[in-house]
Symmetry: C4
Subunit: 274 residues, 4 copies
Amino acid sequence: MGSFRGHALPGSFFCFISLWWSMKYILKYACKKYKRTCYLGSKALFHRVEVLEGIIIVGMALSGMTWEQFVPGGPHLTLYDYEEGQWNQLLEWQHCTMYFFFGLFGVTNILCYTSCSLPVSLAKLMMSNAFFVEAFVFYNHTHGRDMLDVYVHQLLLLVIIVTGLITFIDFMRSNIILELLQPSFILLQGTWFWQIGFVLYPPSGGPAWEPTDHDNIMFVSICFCWHYMFSLIIVGLIYVFVTWLVKSKLKRACPSEVGLLKNAEREQELEEEM
Amino acid sequence: MGSFRGHALPGSFFCFISLWWSMKYILKYACKKYKRTCYLGSKALFHRVEVLEGIIIVGMALSGMTWEQFVPGGPHLTLYDYEEGQWNQLLEWQHCTMYFFFGLFGVTNILCYTSCSLPVSLAKLMMSNAFFVEAFVFYNHTHGRDMLDVYVHQLLLLVIIVTGLITFIDFMRSNIILELLQPSFILLQGTWFWQIGFVLYPPSGGPAWEPTDHDNIMFVSICFCWHYMFSLIIVGLIYVFVTWLVKSKLKRACPSEVGLLKNAEREQELEEEM
Amino acid sequence: MGSFRGHALPGSFFCFISLWWSMKYILKYACKKYKRTCYLGSKALFHRVEVLEGIIIVGMALSGMTWEQFVPGGPHLTLYDYEEGQWNQLLEWQHCTMYFFFGLFGVTNILCYTSCSLPVSLAKLMMSNAFFVEAFVFYNHTHGRDMLDVYVHQLLLLVIIVTGLITFIDFMRSNIILELLQPSFILLQGTWFWQIGFVLYPPSGGPAWEPTDHDNIMFVSICFCWHYMFSLIIVGLIYVFVTWLVKSKLKRACPSEVGLLKNAEREQELEEEM
Amino acid sequence: MGSFRGHALPGSFFCFISLWWSMKYILKYACKKYKRTCYLGSKALFHRVEVLEGIIIVGMALSGMTWEQFVPGGPHLTLYDYEEGQWNQLLEWQHCTMYFFFGLFGVTNILCYTSCSLPVSLAKLMMSNAFFVEAFVFYNHTHGRDMLDVYVHQLLLLVIIVTGLITFIDFMRSNIILELLQPSFILLQGTWFWQIGFVLYPPSGGPAWEPTDHDNIMFVSICFCWHYMFSLIIVGLIYVFVTWLVKSKLKRACPSEVGLLKNAEREQELEEEM
């Protein structure tokens, strides 16, 4: 991962998945709220989507692990170099471990939505779990590096822990707002991976930022807030877009009972969200 | 902010908003409890007040950001000074970022109470969010200062984090007592800003307090408790006043069903608050 | 407080109050469970007891504050010694502040059970509050002392924080077991105050324990567990005693519906406790 | 405990108990879900099992304490060596204290399921309590050791605290998934005890791992994730096995209403798990 591309790849992945999840959650919520009963908002479709998602995540985790192992200069599945008497490329093994837990989450997702003997919320717990393991590995990742390098990774750690916590709280008490906060933080994680790439391995080929300048640290902390701001706004815009779509476009395609609900009922519904 | 006025201004703002919020929360609670149904305690009025509040907060955030940027000697929207090859007044940019998140809370407040496709509790989450971002920025704010300076800002950080946590818990489980605890802590934050001004930049023009004396640290920690004590008592007095107002003054103006409720029912109600 | 008696006094107080509270909580619970409806288990009696408790706590807080201020060599209400240009006995002022918050809890207790416009659970929040403030003050209390001295106070801090947390969780979700855990920790706090007295100011007049010996630290940590063990067992014995009392002795005095309840119902009740 | 066997013994114990608990929890859950009403899934049987478990745990705690005290070279119940003027083998006393709290949990388990005047959830609290005390003792256990030694015990501490927290959350809000997460972490604790044995006291008789090599630390952190992965998979396999057993094998032996439930009902049930 010690390159611009090594940070841009996971960054893009997290950005993509967070955009997709925020769309899915909002669509689910809006369909439920406006009681759309056509195929597009049906439970069966959402179940199939979840299974598909699980398969994609497992696929990505597998390919990620393969890539980490068999890239030229990778560990090629040897953990201990007996000739030199030392461990063999532990950083790559750390990445494999992280991928594995995301893969486990994917497998759980598939199982939860195909077998009826598993509680659905288990998938959420495994997602929260994957983030906590990622946080644990990152915590043991930056030994002996420069101040700036450590700091940008600490901020990443902060995002990952908060994502794990929010997913765990959402697992305990399902809540649409927490559900949306989670893709916001995953988006923040994604864009922050990109930012780390730009800070430590500038793609322009110029030198990395001065690692011991306190002004850089300070700017990075502001920049982190801006990324967060940006991710909140993006998720907000998706919310507006999807709600508008469900409200206006799907009206023609699907039968809806929204007209039949009285105002009072809708308000009550609104409050019951909590 | 490095002046008495720079601390007195946000202090006054937080004091004002906390007094207003504690009045609003208690009025809402008392009206609901004594089942006043006239215009003053109606839902429609409270919704309009929330929207107005949102507009005021957005206005204050915008003017705060403008002021930070265009004050003589401010950054004037230039982030990086290419001539000198260094960042341009990052402290002011930090303050702008804080203001932005309070502005975002204001915008959410307006949207939550005007559009019916947003859950109302979102506003609370964004408030908690604004406090957490403020805490994050303050945490990266006091690098390389004196012991006393760092300590008074750490205490501020403590208040801000507790406020954020209480607002978050209140977001998860709405509860009148937590709702009132929140303006108490905002009031504490406000008066503590004033205190910081008096400690670090005495308005009398005298020298600042000796920054390395441990006795000063110790007194400051006691003083912090006294501020807290003071803010709890103020909110308590507002509670007494507003409840008395609703009970006695509004009796003539509004039809009430309080006389019709039996004692037992009221007690039960009391317990259901939890 | 820097003496054996200074630690034995608050220790005795906390021991006494915890024994009393555990009896009260268990009596309340047992009366409710076995549906005793005579005067001894009635709501009215418990309300009067709470008010009395509040008065006692306020009285103790006031006398504590007076004593700290007007003891020979005390601060006599002067905070700053203008002649010597330094703060006047801040340790005593710290203790006064702690007493004040316990007094505030007492006042709230009285108000909650006399006025019906206050939610009853407010008293619990103020209790939790008093413990958190005590923890905050203790945290700023042990600057520049010996290792052993700091360590025994850190353990005290741990108890106080846990007590505050448990009371806060109990405030959020009332639960008999948490309610009983709270007097256990208060008892632990009480006996630990005594232990601190014995460790730092041996009443036998011998020298204090060697403050830099790591074995002492280690023994103190074991001893702390034993105190906890002891307090759990004491509360358990009180539970057995009070339940037996309610079941057997009060049977003659009060009419009870316990015989009328079917076994199944009682079991269900048992599970609803959660 | 300073030997391979000293770590392998508690490790085996925790592995065994976690396997047993995961089987019990899943069996309970599956029986409830598929509404098996025969003796094997009845409440009475589970109560008897709990009492038996309690007795076993108390027995193990007692034998553990006896063994720690009366092993050749053990403290033989003398706490202070008056001749040499120093504490007598505090490490063994620490272990006794840990055993005691597990014994207390066993006693509570017995009492909760035999007496009907105790809330059943008390047993869970005492279990969480036993883990927290274990964590507290371990925290004060590794003073002045090598980096690797401290690190492997810190990881153990992490598992123990997480187990305690999960048990506490499960005590507050009973939930099958959290219930299963708990034996996963106990299994992790068990296998990690074994791992510590292999790292610090290799049974092959070779030298211990180099304690100051950062690569070892890094591998240990990866290895920890692998143990976790392994424990999750084991619990998952037990889940599959027990569910399959209840579904297919018990069908002949016990009357079941599973065939009578409509699909929709089962789905609803699934969602109510949360």
